[in-house]
Amino acid sequence: MTSPLRPRSGAALNFTFDGKQMQACEGDTLAAALLANGIRLVGRSFKYHRPRGIMTAGVEEPNALVTIGEGGRAEPNTRATDVFVYEGLVARSQNRWPSLNLDLGAVFGLLSKALPAGFYYKTFFGPAKLWLVYEWFIRRAAGLGNAPREADPDRYSQRSAFCDVLVVGGGPSGLQAAVDGVDGVDAGKRVILVEQDAELGGSLLRDDHDLGPDWIGSMAARIRGAGGTILTRTTASGYWEHDLVTLVERIAEPGQVPTHGTAQRLWHVRAGKVILATGCIERPIAFSHNDRPGVMLSQAARTYVRRFGVLPGKRVVIATNNDDAYATAQTLSDAGAIIVAILDARSSLSPVASEAQGRFTVHTEAAPKAANGSKARLKSVTASVSGIEVSFDADLLAVSGGFTPVTHLHMQAGGKLDFSDEAQAFVAADCRQNVETVGSAANPPPALPLKVYGDPKTSFVDFQNDVTIADIDLAWAEGYRSVEHLKRYTTLGMATDQGKTSNMTALARLAERRNITIPDAGLTTFRPPYTPVTMGALAGRDHRDAGAHVRRVPLWDEHKAANAIWQPAGYWMRPRAFPRNSEDLAASARREAQTVRRAVGMTDVSTLAKFEVSGPDAARFLEMICATSVAKLAIGRGRYTFMLRDDGLAFDDGTVWRLEENRFLLTSSTGGADRMATHISYVRQVLHPELRVSAVNVQEHYAGIAIAGPLAKAALWAMIGTEPPRHMSLARATVTGVPVLLLGASYSGERAFEIYVEATQSGPVWTDCAAAVAERGGCTYGLEAMEILRIEKGHVVVGGELDGRLSPHDLGLAGMLNKAGGYVGEAGLSRPALSSPGRLQLVGLESLDGPIPEGAMLTKERISAAHGHVTAAAYRVMSGDPIALALLADGRSRMGEELYASSPTRNQFVRVRVTAPHFYDHAGERYRD
């Protein structure tokens, strides 16, 4: 299996395959190293568990899929042709049991006649519950590798880049295009050249060429010397709008411990122009058992000899429909192999074939019918030579069925394709984006259409998904005429290789059956990614945190010191409770809520949305944003307000305060903050750009502290040294020398204040407030207590009761609407549907049985039609009696009615009585001094 060409200088690399220790040379792909170690059987196919070897030398490899690495670093379904061996690499074959050599799953191959394309559409009928059985079976039978169960220990990076020219492909055409960009005909441009291989050169690494051995190095030096960027081991995985191309750079090989911690980098490259020098993929030939180890693409065989010094066979038959395979014959012969025969499908010899005939036995009108041998070894090739069956002893069959240009990126860019009759392949045509295809991808070598001589049932087209010629014929016979239907019925091209080696063969067969041309048969759509992309690369550096940074409140350190239980609220982390001693969350929240009702509590409301609106037209502007009147608000006063979408439905609520004649503060919910900012910007920039107003998002400028309870006024008075503002009034003061804005506002149902302070100075104010509260027997409280308090008071919350489906009337807020109109949503409110009977309305619920399950349906019987649902459940703060808020059809006319809060999935059915949605101080007397 080795050859004299194989370099042996330098240190050998140790690796294992299925636990067996082996050695590789520096620069070997795993495929090359396995061949050098005499390994021909590398994997098992997806469906029939057929023995498979190495067919290609590139990313298009459909057969030699292995799992690389261990633990969380394990990467399944890695192409052995696309991983470079490093010291300690661990590779395992997959989709076999108990071993690669003895795989019991191969029984599926024996049953292949019963498992044709689409058999599952005809098999898995019956009662729905049987699907649980089918699913168990199908999931265990489904092949390829297993995803690791451990967490990925590596890091991933995402980086942007901008360039004038992005060249994809580091072969001769790509190198020339890049040099033209930096110091050639288009000199001075910012150029990025990407190559998915570890080495530049492309076909030059495989072929004898006139450019000289140093040409690749000199071109690379010119690119780098002129400021260009070269990224090797980097695949252009997707082409998006506006010439945005995503690249995936492998910094570490699959399974390898990254030197600097980062395993892969996802690049977002915005290019002025993209040049695709992506080359061609050689096509296999369909014949019986063409998937047997020992059948290899012609150029791959040449690559293993010339680049890696590995001779993949000693007795070689070459089957071709083009001239390129003659170079393979010469290369293998030079390396010591015996060329048993060249089977040329063409009827007459081309000049290249004529020239070779003196050295090799060349048969015209010849093609393989079958590859014969064992599971790991090819022994002979049966061929049709001018209609006569002939057999050749051989251990390698190198095949070339023509060349398919790599047009994936061109097509992803929205480009069209033309069909080349000469090459029997699609080539890049016009594109709306600034992309150009050069080199062999634009001009593939000519090739003859091929006939299938072998048994269609064992002549494979899609090697990964075990789709045969017979499967395509079956799909056609069953009426699947469209290539898109054919694809989905047979699963052709739907494996991880996305049909790189199978599409054209399948299209040719479909066209032949339909008696139409290949372009008339159509082509399926190429979608990103070009090759599989690790999920971590898409997630980026924060893949462990769902890709999102945590937003910290200004008082983060204070809450952390107070032993807060944290709760995510969007990207924010907010204190949920402040447990003392051994309290759990529920006990802590109840103590905190009762303290607010009995004495005083304080909480962090910094995350509330806040907007400062100023200018001569500020009041007019706010009367568009808010559905309540604003203009008549006196300076120093505030009011509750809510906001509507264009369709008249409420989407947020808050308060509006008149700070000065032409300056207001608008607050709204934390959860709706970004949406509110967008809405304000929309009204300002789009609906009324003529207004003399400035609306600035000051959400983070101010930290907010709410202080609530019957002793809140006394605590605040002690802090500021003067009488605090009355309910819905504001005042300015200082706390420990820090200027603060005081708003008399309550969310808890108690006399309460919100203290706003510039966030950078909030620490001392919080500390002073905590001392004043503690002095009066109070405490800090978190979101859990706040939720209990607001439910008891009957305040709505965005996402709970304000679910985007309710009108002000549904919420019982119609009386607050601005009678002068002019607000966003006024027109939408007049729609008859918003006043029709049966609409959900906000109500309260009292339990007759026990705790009310949140989210439960409201039904007349335990199991019957839903009339509404429970939006939020809690209990009366002091007595502990269960209560809830709910949305109920025609709810306000159903006071006193008894229903079930029904949750069949939790087997909870609680009897409830409908009440008004206010369980505490309905008259609002506790707000008054």
């Binding site: 980086r159 980062t262 977002h268 940074h549 937003r551 100023s614 000051v698 959400q699 966030a759 950078t760």
Partner: protein, 161 residues
Amino acid sequence: MIEVAISTLPAAPLHTLEIWSNAQAVAKRFQEAAAFALPPMGQSAGNAGVRLIRFEPTVWLVEGDWTGLEPVLGDDGALTAIGGGIVRIALSGTGWRRLLMEGGVFDAENIAFGPGCSAATIIDHVNVRLHVTDEKQCIAYVPSSFAHDLIAFWKAAASLA
């Protein structure tokens, strides 16, 4: 490893200045009062006491002494304090351009983005405003809530790149 030092600057007065009418007249009044012109889009201008950075067509970020600006604006614009919600982070060293490409969407490596230039962009999903103070330093204005995590992100990116 990216050659860049990441440091948090002390809190400073920051305001937005928005002009909604009579822009030419305001610009003239401003130049007379400040002795320098309002900077154009994507640029900054200032003196020892105050610097204005234009990030939006009608909005400037005012850094420093803002006390003389309200009379200049009159009824044609407004100042609003925002400094409590922004952390200023200095990215110093030859590698600041490279660092900003990590998780970024803005062409910070374009040499035209030089001293005096500004941009509003997204870095790893966080809205950030940038101001180049000299060839070896860029100031990032980061929302306070994201500052801790973004600094950690930058430090990791600088050390792992």
